[in-house]
């Protein structure tokens, strides 16, 4: 079936089988490889994308169900080729990752959290990423990355103190 998808601010018209998951559609049809398949049953969170700004599992959504919503993938939060968002940069600063497989999903979960909560507590950060499993890091440096990003983003418009 032909469906229209709004992904990263662009309209795409794609031809998919009705049973195609949003994850498979993003990866195989739109060639957006940043969302990863981990469990394909909605537990690990590696396939996380933003659905109207909310972090969701793209493996549990059929592509046709995403019609009419704004989908944001990791490619959509990366400002420009070679440039990092403050959240992505904070992940690099604290080394909030190792193998990188769960990372785009973690970054998106962080973006989703910080969009609604610029000053999250440790507990709120933990809660926000608790649906994303990371097997490498034990989470400490991820939590620190998100706290650092929040701090930096809060300071963006502050006048420089002399």
């Amino acid at each position: 079936m032909r469906i229209k998808l709004n992904v990263n601010g662009k309209e795409h018209e794609v031809d998919v089988e009705p049973r195609t998951t949003l994850l498979d559609c993003l990866r195989d049809v739109l060639n957006l490889k940043g969302a990863h398949a981990g469990c394909e049953h909605g537990v690990c969170g590696a396939c996380t994308v933003l659905y109207d700004g909310v972090a969701v599992r793209s493996c549990l959504i059929f592509a046709p169900q995403a019609e009419g919503s704004a989908i944001t993938t990791i490619e959509g939060v990366t400002p420009a080729p070679g440039e990092l968002s403050p959240v992505q940069d904070a992940f690099c600063e604290t080394h909030g990752l190792q193998c990188g497989y769960c990372t785009p999903a973690m970054v998106l979960a962080a973006h989703s959290l910080l969009a609604g909560n610029p000053e999250p507590t440790r507990e709120e950060i933990v809660e926000a990423i608790s649906g994303n499993i990371c097997r490498c890091t034990g989470y400490a440096q991820i939590v620190e990355a998100i706290a650092l990003a929040a701090e930096r983003m809060r300071g963006v418009n502050r006048p420089t103190e002399l």
Binding site: V43, L97, C99, G100, G138
Partner: protein, 802 residues
């Protein structure tokens, strides 16, 4: 003991500084190069038909309905594949236990792959797989390792005549005498449950046969020694007929990504069918048939000690349930020989290593290669010795520790602990968090009506493996090296490229090579390009196993950089017309020691090397390209006739001190406080080492409390998805304070030791010891991992009702 002739000394300019990890940029942008990201034109996809029974004879396979599905290209069975390929490599001499990608005649565990279907898409292949009709005749099966040892047990491999793959007893020192001489003995049985590292990326492989160049190209999420060699042997191709692409990013492994059977399957299919073939395991295939379960081990430990708690001797029997086939898994009983006494001065040891087959999923290498379970057994025993004597558990450990002045310290099995200061690490942790305060916190929790306990574990991480445990378990193997390599090339523009020759799964090896080369050359590591040539363009690499890369790849990079530095210096000295000993290399340029203004810049020297042969020292090769192949430091010998061998060169130390509370009604353990002292010698990148340690602790917590590939009595794997196999989330991993200590290794170029398995070596033991301390007031102990909430809750309820 060989001291490296060139050892760098502090202060370092880049090593040990808090620099970013170069790999991270691509990953945070979703621009990793994972195997599932590789799309080749005309690529087809594989789905698998698996056996639903733990043991069954395959009577017939009807492929017709599957082949009739539009878009299906091929249906492959085990007979065809076995006829065209060699069995997969195994470690032991067990010719009657052949392992193949698809079952031939008999399937030996529920979930074993029987038929492969190739179709235009994975979804179509799955549809067609449902149409394959297989007739089975059920066979007797055995699931439990001890039952598998019984005389009338069902045989997993009938032709082998027994389920025993390995049964070898080692005696180091005067065990009988030490037992006879010791006034006290204690025996203990502990069990390590069947868990694994379960990466979030399943194993995947893409293969493409090019008949005109006669090369099989392979892209895989692999972490395995001798991968290309195993492929060429199994597919009967020359070594040069296989090209493994090492620039694939591996989405986590921690030992288990060893999909050789997947690779042989798609390698055969692409050669048979003439188009690229891809197999990405789905989660079910991965957990049930991906052959990636970890050790499942029963330990019987007996120790002999005196009234002061000094342990003189230990007898350990380790019985491992390796599942249906033998890969390298029995060798996981071998690595612990290298640290069989942990950090303690136990004089003599009897060690019986047993591996048996059962009708469960095949076991594969898991982080620390068997050392984690062994450390758990040793550390549980230490606690019980303390309890038996009424001596504090920390004090018991202190009395038995190898002391700083004892290094280098040779243990009964022949390994030599390179360096350490265990007491200093412990003292540092206690200075940070007082033991008395922790006890007070525990007692306060108990006063609130909770169960609470302190967990201690003092463990070693043998690192830099030279694989001589293989020869210990199989005398026909005579491997005594496990090398790694680095090549450095300076182009005519003066920019530097250094190479590594294997895949990585998150350990930051590109950062490692860049940092070490930059350190030696005094040049910014970020300006050094690191590449991963494919296997046809590579020098040897032992691959990232056994916590070896910082040591062996780091050593290769260090020595290669020194060769380059030496060449650059020689060229400049010649051009300056000064004797070599007066030429001083500093940060890329070379000057006359006696006249510092008399110098040649990096650009000058590069120009000479690339353009001015007439200005080169006579006889020197033009250009600036060097390579180095690094032997494992301190290694190179095979076991002696009395079965002793120096195994791993370096021994990192970790000391866990934790506090756990348990809600007595729910049985749910909660980690209230987690401290770890960690000493892995010189830290090359602090961010990476911290991440490794934290990740290892999380794995250990999972193995101790949550994760288990549980089977029912019918031989069905009950934990087939992440609904049932519980992975620790950010809620389950507590904040951890890591207290670093640095005792450099005298054997390595920077004093570094391994840290790839850190945390995991002792966290399960610490959690188990804490839970047992919590349960002591109830007079019960639990020694079977994982300590699942339900089991724990039942045990507590039963004890309280008594």
């Amino acid at each position: 003991m060989r001291q490296d002739s060139k050892q760098a000394s502090k202060p370092f300019r880049f090593v040990s500084t808090d620099r970013r990890v170069r790999e991270d940029r691509r990953f945070v942008a979703g621009k990793g190069n994972f195997v599932a990201d590789i799309d080749l034109p005309n690529m087809k996809h594989v789905a698998l038909v698996t056996c639903p029974y733990p043991a069954a004879r395959i009577k017939s396979i009807d492929k017709s309905a599957a082949l009739a599905v539009p878009g299906v290209h091929y249906v492959l069975d085990g007979h065809e594949l076995a006829g065209a390929t060699e069995p997969l490599m195994t470690g032991l001499e067990t010719p009657n236990v052949p392992r193949r990608p698809l079952a031939v005649d008999v399937a030996r565990y529920a979930g074993e792959w029987v038929v492969a279907v190739v179709a235009d898409t994975r979804a179509l292949a799955e549809d067609a797989a449902e149409q394959v009709k297989i007739e089975y005749e059920r066979l007797p099966y055995v699931l439990d390792a001890e039952k598998a040892l019984e005389k009338d047990a069902a045989l997993v491999h009938e032709a082998h005549g027994t389920n025993v793959l390995l049964d070898k007893t080692f005696v180091w020192g005067e065990v009988d005498k030490d037992f006879a001489d010791s006034p006290r003995h204690l025996s203990l049985r502990v069990k390590w449950g069947r868990s694994s590292t379960v990466p979030i990326e399943t194993f995947g492989v893409v293969a493409n046969w090019d008949p005109w160049r006669e090369v099989l190209d392979v892209w895989a999420s692999i972490q395995m020694p001798r991968y290309n060699e195993q492929i060429s042997n199994a597919l009967r191709l020359p070594g040069t007929g296989v090209r493994v692409h090492y620039d694939v990013d591996v989405g986590g492994s921690y030992g288990v990504k060893r999909g050789i059977k997947n690779t042989i399957l798609v390698g055969y299919l692409t050669r048979r069918l003439g188009f690229p073939v891809r197999l990405i395991e789905d989660r079910l295939e991965n957990m049930r048939g991906g052959d990636a379960h970890g050790p499942e081990r029963v330990f019987d430990v007996e120790v002999a000690f005196n009234d002061e708690g000094i342990i003189r001797s230990m007898k350990m029997r380790a019985l491992d349930n390796v599942g249906a086939y033998a890969g390298r898994s029995p060798f996981q009983l071998g690595k612990p020989i290298g640290a069989i006494v942990g950090p303690y001065k136990i004089k003599s040891v009897q060690y019986r290593a047993m591996a048996v087959t059962t009708n469960k999923t095949t076991q594969e290498a898991v982080r620390a290669f068997g050392q984690g379970p062994t450390n758990f057994a040793i550390e549980r025993t230490m606690d019980e010795v303390a309890n038996a004597l009424g001596i504090d558990r920390l004090e018991i450990r202190r009395r038995n520790l190898v002391r700083h002045e004892d290094f280098p310290y040779e243990i009964p099995s022949g390994s030599v602990y390179d360096s350490g200061n265990y007491e200093a690490v412990i003292d540092k942790v206690l200075a940070h968090t007082s033991y008395e305060d922790l006890k007070a916190r525990r007692d306060a929790l108990r006063a609130e009506g909770k169960l609470a306990g302190i967990g201690i574990a003092a463990c070693l991480e043998p690192s830099g493996g030279n694989a001589t445990f293989e020869a210990m378990l199989n005398p026909k193997i005579n491997t005594s090296t496990f090398m790694d390599s680095c090549r450095i090339h300076v182009d005519a523009n003066g920019t530097i490229t250094a190479t590594m020759h294997t895949t990585s799964s998150g350990q930051g090896h590109e950062t490692l090579v860049g940092t070490v080369v930059g350190e030696v050359l005094g040049l910014d590591p970020d300006r050094i390009r690191i590449t991963r040539p494919d296997s046809l363009n590579s020098l040897p690499s032992g691959t990232p196993v056994g916590s070896r890369m910082a040591i062996v790849l780091g050593g290769a990079a260090f020595h290669a950089a020194h060769k380059l530095k030496d060449k650059v210096t020689a060229i400049a000295a010649h051009d300056l017309g000064i004797p070599l000993e007066r030429a001083v290399y500093a940060n890329g340029s070379v000057h006359d020691r006696d006249a510092p203004d008399n110098k040649r810049s990096w650009a000058d020297i590069v120009w000479i090397a690339h353009r001015n042969y007439h200005r080169m020292p006579p006889g020197m090769e033009p250009g600036l390209a060097v390579s180095h192949i690094e032997q494992v430091p301190g290694g190179g010998n095979l076991p002696t006739p009395d079965q002793r061998v120096k195994m791993y060169p370096c021994f990192s130390f970790e000391f866990h001190l934790i506090l756990v509370s348990i809600d007595p009604d729910l049985g749910a353990p909660q980690i209230e406080c987690y401290r770890i002292g960690h000493d892995c010698g010189t830290v090359i990148n602090p961010k990476i080492v911290r991440g490794m340690t934290m990740g290892g602790i999380a794995h250990g917590i999972g193995a101790a409390l949550y994760e288990e590939f549980a089977y029912d009595d019918e031989g069905q794997l009950m934990a087939q998805s992440f609904m049932d196999y519980l992975l620790p989330s950010a809620h389950e991993v507590p904040p951890v304070e890591i207290i670093h200590h640095e005792t450099p290794s005298p054997l390595t170029v920077l004093g570094q030791k391994g840290s790839g398995e850190s945390g995991y070596l002792g966290s399960a033991a610490a959690v188990a010891n804490a839970v047992n301390d919590a349960l002591r007031p109830l007079n019960i102990s639990v020694n079977t991992l994982p300590l699942k909430l339900a089991k724990l809750g039942d045990a507590i309820a039963e004890a309280r009702s008594r």
